[in-house]
């Protein structure tokens, strides 16, 4: 492929941001249009990735590789496979939607749109990087615009939330940096080549002790991002304070970076440690599922409710990833996409309510179906998609994850299933309190229904919700090759380590009992 689709789609938003720098502050309409056009451009350019995707190979596609810092063996190396494809598309899609949803921002619109576009470049870069250094650069770069979005355009406690977000994420990721550098030198020792090339480092056989520490370092970086229980406390703060669009991006894309990191880095690099950590991660995921759901149930603030529901949903994703079978993994990846769509949409809907009423308290609403029927329909669709009603996208992912979990551990699966039930409780209860009941509050009586822009935001999401729900095959078929390859790769390396462990055991046992024979065997 000669046309550098990935590079253009990734850096187009950055170009747009630079363009915006030179636009006069007063021309708000123009600023919005430029931002929107760049986001649309990036999305359209990335569409061929989906249609021209080769289903039959697990190898990275649309690869571009240019040396960057030769002395260190760092290159600009990007490409996608069936795992990152959908996250890439989801990112450019959601950014587009978010920019459309930010039309009503009046305050410092220029800086806002610049942050949004830089953020998009950072996020897209994370999903396509195949060079560890490059990955880390994108991973950190994206913190700054998000920090600004929360801190400048957020709610009353925005500064606290923004700093908390930044420091939490940074604290996790610096340890990953140390681990990345260690991997780099290990790879040098083994192969004599200085490189950050992920595909080459995949081949590395890491001793068990080192795997443990390296896995842990990556684990903190990703687990904070996901966020897994008990590293989730930054999330509700960030969500509540962030402006609508930032919440959408945060829930829709940023959290996926954590789970994506586990799939792309932790599993294939440290298969033995990953297997060893399964009980801890699975239990943390299950606690997250149930705890998130229970806490969501008692929230009085709509945004907080959705934020905690994310903790719960991401628990499913983690569980799916760490059961090491194809259903779980594919379900996990699909669920990342689904969660991005439905939770993103939920934040958009809450944002629309907030714009009209300037409150997010559930108690302030009630009976909105009467004044806002179309809104109610969309809200219903998204709510049901979020709880995983068959026929909608949420179901497919959750079902696959649970099937995968059942195959590997019935206890985990049983406990996780309760999360599905709890999800129905808190979502439908919330829906009832907001949309049904009697319309008592006089302020709610004059609420306007959706306008054209809001239609344009919600309709594509609703279409995707049904499409994935009814016919998920185009998505799953694109994942198959990559996920299968990943699982065999992990499995082979894991077995290799196990075999060696077994051999060592025999050797040591023999040394104790039959020293001559052990000597003989060694010779």
């Amino acid at each position: 492929m000669n046309f550098p689709i990935l590079t253009i789609a990734t850096f187009l938003p950055l170009m747009g941001a630079i363009w915006l720098l030179f636009i006069n502050k007063g021309k708000e309409e123009k600023i919005r249009r430029i931002a929107l056009v760049t986001a649309i451009g990036s999305f359209i350019i990335s569409l061929p990735l989906f249609f021209n995707f080769n289903l039959n190979t697990h190898e990275f596609q649309f690869v571009e590789k240019v040396p960057w810092i030769k002395e260190f063996g760092i290159s600009y190396y990007v490409g996608i496979d069936g795992i990152s494809l959908f996250l890439f598309l989801l990112t450019s899609f959601l950014t587009l939607i978010s920019i459309l949803a930010s039309w009503t921002i009046k305050d410092r619109i220029k800086e806002y749109m610049i942050s949004m576009l830089v953020l998009e470049t950072g996020m897209l870069g994370v999903f396509i990087s195949l060079d560890l250094f490059l990955f880390f650069v994108f991973w950190e770069v994206m913190l700054i615009p998000m920090y600004l979005l929360i801190g400048v355009w957020g709610g009353p406690r925005r500064v606290y939330a923004a700093i908390k977000f930044f420091i939490y994420t940074m604290a996790g990721s610096v340890l990953m940096l140390v681990a990345i550098i260690s991997l780099y030198f290990m790879n040098y020792k083994a192969t004599g080549e200085y490189t950050f090339d992920l595909v080459k480092i995949y081949e590395l056989d890491i001793p068990m002790g080192a795997q443990f520490w390296l896995f842990l370092a990556f684990f903190f970086a990703f687990a904070i991002k996901v966020p897994m229980f008990p590293f989730h406390t930054w999330l509700p703060d960030a969500h509540v304070e962030a402006p609508t669009a930032a919440s959408v991006i945060l829930a829709g894309v940023l959290l996926k970076m954590g789970t994506y990191g586990f799939v792309r880095f932790s599993l294939p690099l440290f298969p033995y440690a990953s297997h060893q950590f399964v009980p801890i991660i699975a239990w943390l995921a299950i606690v997250g599922i149930i705890y998130g759901a229970l806490v969501a149930m008692v929230q009085e603030d709509l945004k907080k409710l959705v934020a905690y529901s994310s903790v719960s949903h991401l628990g499913f994703v983690m569980l799916g990833i760490f059961v090491f079978n194809i259903q779980g993994m594919e379900g996990g990846i699909l669920m990342m996409v689904n969660h991005g769509l439905s939770t993103g949409a939920l934040f958009l809907l809450v944002g629309m309510l907030y714009e009209r009423r300037h409150t997010r308290m559930i108690a302030d609403f009630g009976g909105l179906t009467k004044v806002m029927p179309i809104f109610a329909v969309f809200f219903m669709i998204i709510t049901l998609s979020s709880v995983g009603l068959p026929g909608m996208n949420g179901f497919v992912g959750e079902f696959l994850v649970l099937v995968g979990t059942f195959k590997s551990n019935i206890l985990y699966a049983t406990l996780a299933t309760t999360g599905v039930i709890l999800a129905v409780c808190y979502m439908l209860w919330m829906f009832k309190r907001v949309m049904f009941n009697k319309l008592t509050n006089p302020e709610n009586q004059k609420l306007k229904d959706l306008n054209k822009r809001e239609w344009a935001i919600l309709l594509p999401i609703a279409i995707l919700v049904f499409w994935i729900g009814i016919y998920p095959k185009p998505l799953i078929s694109r994942m198959d090759a990559s996920v299968n390859h990943l699982l065999t790769q992990v499995d082979e390396k894991y077995k290799l380590t196990l075999n060696r462990l077994e051999k060592d055991k025999i050797k040591y046992a023999m040394k104790d009992e039959l020293p001559e024979l052990a000597q003989y065997q060694e010779d």
Binding site: A162, A171, F185
Partner: protein, 483 residues
């Protein structure tokens, strides 16, 4: 006794001679310039710096010892000379309007800066402890005067006196150290000391241990590492801001230059001892610097503590004691002068006669009044915090790589955790600029063209070294011949 005059290799010290001549020319020209025209002296200084830079450029390449092995020109010293010249040039550019506004635009100002730079170059090229000492003194004495240059201000006087007194003590320690090493080895030449230590038991000789410990104290004072750092905040706060910037850049780099050269070239035999001590010093320096910086409300003091912390990161490179470590320190020093001088330049731009705006609250709302200046400051802050893709990140990455390569993983972990702490106080500046409403009217900025050039160079350096560091890294890796 026969006296032989050593061959006089003028080419090897040409940059130093040029700087000296430039300093003298400025001093003489000063007599003939009216007060209002003293700006022009900056041109003379810059011309001197540029000529010295060109000459230095021709010195890239082979290692040449001269003056009976007391002076050396190698890529290492050339790299440092570039660092000194660039930082001096930026400082002079940002001084022009600043010293005018403060009413201290005397010709000596530039002369002293040029002489100090000359001293630094002598330090970087010194291959004999006496040469190094000479350079150190030329630099320090100029700096003592410069720190007190706002002579009608109490805090400036305090800074100068404090710096001088403590500096004199540190020099004493250093000299003792040199004397002891001489007593034990019979030479002050760096290479010969190394040769002596290679052939004789070093670790058991208390005089050598004592001598090198005293050297650590002497150098530790100059690089401001904990626990020899107490002078830094007061001196940084009291000195004229442009001089504070100068202090944090060139002299610090020069001290690191000799620190590395002396310890890696002449004392590698003692590595097990000093690497342990420096390990502790690095951890203390980073941690104390970063933690105390959090509590600061004055931006100059905050940057002072941040510079202490950065010295801690650079100490990691010396602990690593491999060629990667030296190269990473070289790169880091270069990256650091760009971002740190840039930050100080913004501080100067925001200051006014009688109203210096040095509190972090004074930055509240800057992002909306002067967006370009605020973006500039944010870039420097993010770079100092080590966020990619800026110079500070590549520098830190490089240093931590060196540490991990030598097996100091714990040290690297402490280092990266420290950079998380650091994020907090650097972010505070951006919080003030973008997330707080302005509390006062901002006066229109008085940006002189000199200052704009200084800012552009700093920004360019910070971004360029972050995104396209390859060539500088290549040069840095060729500059580690000394080990």
């Amino acid at each position: 006794m026969e006296i032989t005059i050593p061959p006089f290799d003028i080419k090897s010290i040409a940059p130093i001679i040029i700087m000296t001549i430039a300093g003298i020319v400025v001093l003489m020209a000063d007599v003939f310039f009216k007060r209002a025209l003293k700006d022009k002296l900056a041109y003379l200084s810059l011309i001197g710096i540029i000529i010295a830079g060109v000459v230095t450029f021709t010195q890239i390449g082979p290692t040449v010892y001269s003056f009976s092995d007391t002076f050396v020109v190698d890529n290492y010293s050339v790299f440092f000379n570039f660092i000194f010249l660039v930082s001096t040039a930026i400082v002079i550019l940002m001084s022009v309007s600043y010293i005018k506004q403060e009413g201290i635009n005397y010709g000596e100002y530039y002369t002293l800066i040029l002489f100090a730079t000359m001293g630094m170059m002598l330090m970087a090229g010194g291959s004999d402890l006496i040469t190094i000492f000479l350079g150190l003194e030329i630099m320090s004495i100029s700096l003592y005067v410069l720190a007190g240059f706002r002579r009608n201000r109490l805090d400036s006087n305090e800074a100068s006196l404090k710096y001088f007194l403590l500096g004199a003590f540190a020099t004493g320690f250093l000299l003792y150290g040199i004397a002891m090493l001489y007593g034990a080895t019979g030479t002050t030449n760096i290479k010969e000391i190394a040769a002596f230590l290679a052939n004789n038991p070093a670790l058991s000789n208390p005089m050598i241990i004592m001598g090198s410990s005293l050297l650590i104290i002497g150098f530790g004072f100059k690089i401001a590492c904990v626990p020899f750092h107490k002078w830094t905040p007061d001196v940084y706060e009291g000195a004229p801001t442009a001089i504070t910037a100068f202090l944090s850049a060139g002299p610090k780099a020069a001290a690191f230059a000799v620190f590395f050269r002396v310890f890696l070239v002449s004392l590698p035999a003692l590595e097990p001892k000093w690497s342990m001590i420096l390990w502790v010093l690095a951890v203390l320096t980073m941690t104390v610097g970063n933690v105390v910086a959090i509590a600061q409300t004055n931006i100059k003091r905050m940057l002072a503590y941040s510079s202490i912390a950065h010295a801690g990161y650079a100490l990691i490179a010396i602990v690593a004691a491999n060629s990667l470590g030296t190269a990473s320190m070289l790169f880091y020093m270069l990256a650091y002068i760009f971002m740190n001088l840039g930050a100080f330049a913004v501080v100067i731009v925001l200051g006014r006669k009688g109203e210096e705006n040095l509190m972090i609250e004074d930055y509240n709302g800057l992002g909306y009044k002067h967006p370009l200046l605020a973006i500039t400051m944010s870039i420097f802050m993010f770079s100092l915090a080590g966020i990619p893709p800026l110079a500070g990140f590549v520098g830190k990455f490089y240093i931590f790589s060196a540490a991990i390569k030598s097996g100091y993983v714990v040290l690297a972990v402490i280092g990266v955790l420290n950079s998380v702490v650091a994020v907090y106080y650097y972010l505070r500046v951006t919080v003030a600029m973008y997330m707080k409403p302005p509390e006062r009217e901002f006066a229109p900025l008085s940006l002189s063209p000199y200052m704009i050039v200084a800012l552009i160079i700093s920004i360019w350096g910070t971004i360029h070294l972050g995104i396209f560091p390859a060539r500088i890294i290549e040069f840095a890796q060729k500059s580690t011949l000394l080990y």
